[in-house]
Amino acid sequence: MAKISAPKSNREFIDACVQSGDAVRIKQEVDWDNEAGAIVRRCCELGEAAPFMESIKDYPGFSYFGAPLSTYRRMAISLGMDPASTLPQIGAEYLKRTNSEPIAPVVIDRRDAPCKENILLGDDVDLCKLPVPLVHDGDGGRYVGTWHAVITKHPVRGDVNWGMYRQMMWDGRTMSGAVFPFSDLGKTLTDYYLPRGEGCPFATAIGLSPLAAMAACAPSPIPEPELTGMLSGEPVRLVKCETNDLEVPADAEIIIEGMILPDYKVEEGPFGEYTGYRTSPRDFRVTFRVDAITYRNNATMTISNMGVPQDEGQLLRSFSLGLELEKLLKSQGIPVTGVYMHPRSTHHMMIVGVKPTYAGIAMQIAQLAFGSKLGPWFHMVMVVDDQTDIFNWDEVYHAFCTRCNPERGIHVFKNTTGTALYPHATPHDRKYSIGSQVLFDCLWPVDWDKTNDVPSLVSFKNVYPKDIQDKVLNNWADYGFRGAKK
């Protein structure tokens, strides 16, 4: 594989974004109480450059970096690609790297780890010493973790998990967060720690390299430290925690160490989420007790402000969920031509392109998609044929509206797994992660005669001979029209 030149830390990433015009340095003081959140939200809604806020009220020496991966340009920069790369190009690069050999992390000496430049232990531990923002007015609290990784390890199997589980500051030493029972951490807690009444060691890493954050966000079966190495083309540097045996990214800006309590919960939420709503009310949720905080000099806290499209929660999850489903379907020999989630679906609709070579192929795709580990995160699968450009919503929408038979093409799956964040779900279903899902089969039935039964698509590309198309395109400007020939 060619040498990858991707940012290895959040700082390198910010520099690269500033250089390309994809981040803006804000010198004037910004208030952590709503103002920073409002700036990030507006940047997301406008598709603006990422705000790098260098002066935070009450917190001299700290800074914020907001909306780190809320555009495909910044996603390309994070991968060391040309910012102008197209989504299919970025997706192809992701697939190439994540289909390569895993790259194991390296553990470095704590004296070489930037995240150990400041260490707070014992009575010095106080989350209020960090510039934890109030992201949205009316949130249940200041959110420590919005763009981060909660790091845990299964004590028996040894698998390491980096996951993006939101974390709210309850008081100076306590956080609470939403951990769904079907998530990796949720399974580890219910499988091991909760039945035994044992605390689960955790570390929260904030201000990760963008590819470590991408790995933490990706629903890949590959362990996140290895996945980060594959994405960046070299081993991620880890360092051991101060108060437990977990290993954390040495170049992260801030590390919070502690214990998930097995038998005690405090309130969490409400919080504005990637669906564009505050869906679930405050409830007693998983509680994190903090034992240590370490951070870099002049640490930068990353902020994702989730809400209406589009933010990195939608963009990156759509990206990685779609590509991980593509890998899964191809591993089963299904002739998919591509999988795409439009970020504006708030990663709820999976669009699958496939060569319809046998009966029931759309149903097979939906069963695999909904039955997989990825399934709880979306509730709609739309299957279109290989002639439909899955990245072109106009084509997909046309296929949906014209080929999906209301009686035979819509299949509802009941009593599946859902998330507490689905706005359309009932309060009861949200509380117990009960879901329902739907397949929109937009394929022509294989038992229709292709010549006489299947309607013919009437489009410029489809109904005119090649020589006529070329003639019209070549003469387009001469006819008096403006714009590109194709």
Binding site: D58, H136, G138, G140, R142, G172, M259, R278, R282
Partner: protein, 85 residues
Amino acid sequence: MANKWEVFVMDLGELAEGKELELTIRTLNDGRHKYTYQRAKVEVSAKLDQFADSLQVRLGRGQLSDRKFSIRVIERVERMPARYL
């Protein structure tokens, strides 16, 4: 100095007057500890001059209620088991 507090409730009926309540409240005083929580025994009143401290109310999805209260924090309550403190 009067303190400012905030509470989240699903229903304003949770804020009964004339009796001791146990609530999870967060401080709205300016500074680094703003929005941190504590559990406390309190008394609330719709009469804004009944107690020195003020209480603002938010509903289930964070909506700010029009209703304001005054509040007296009687004592802090520690719910967390001692082994975790």
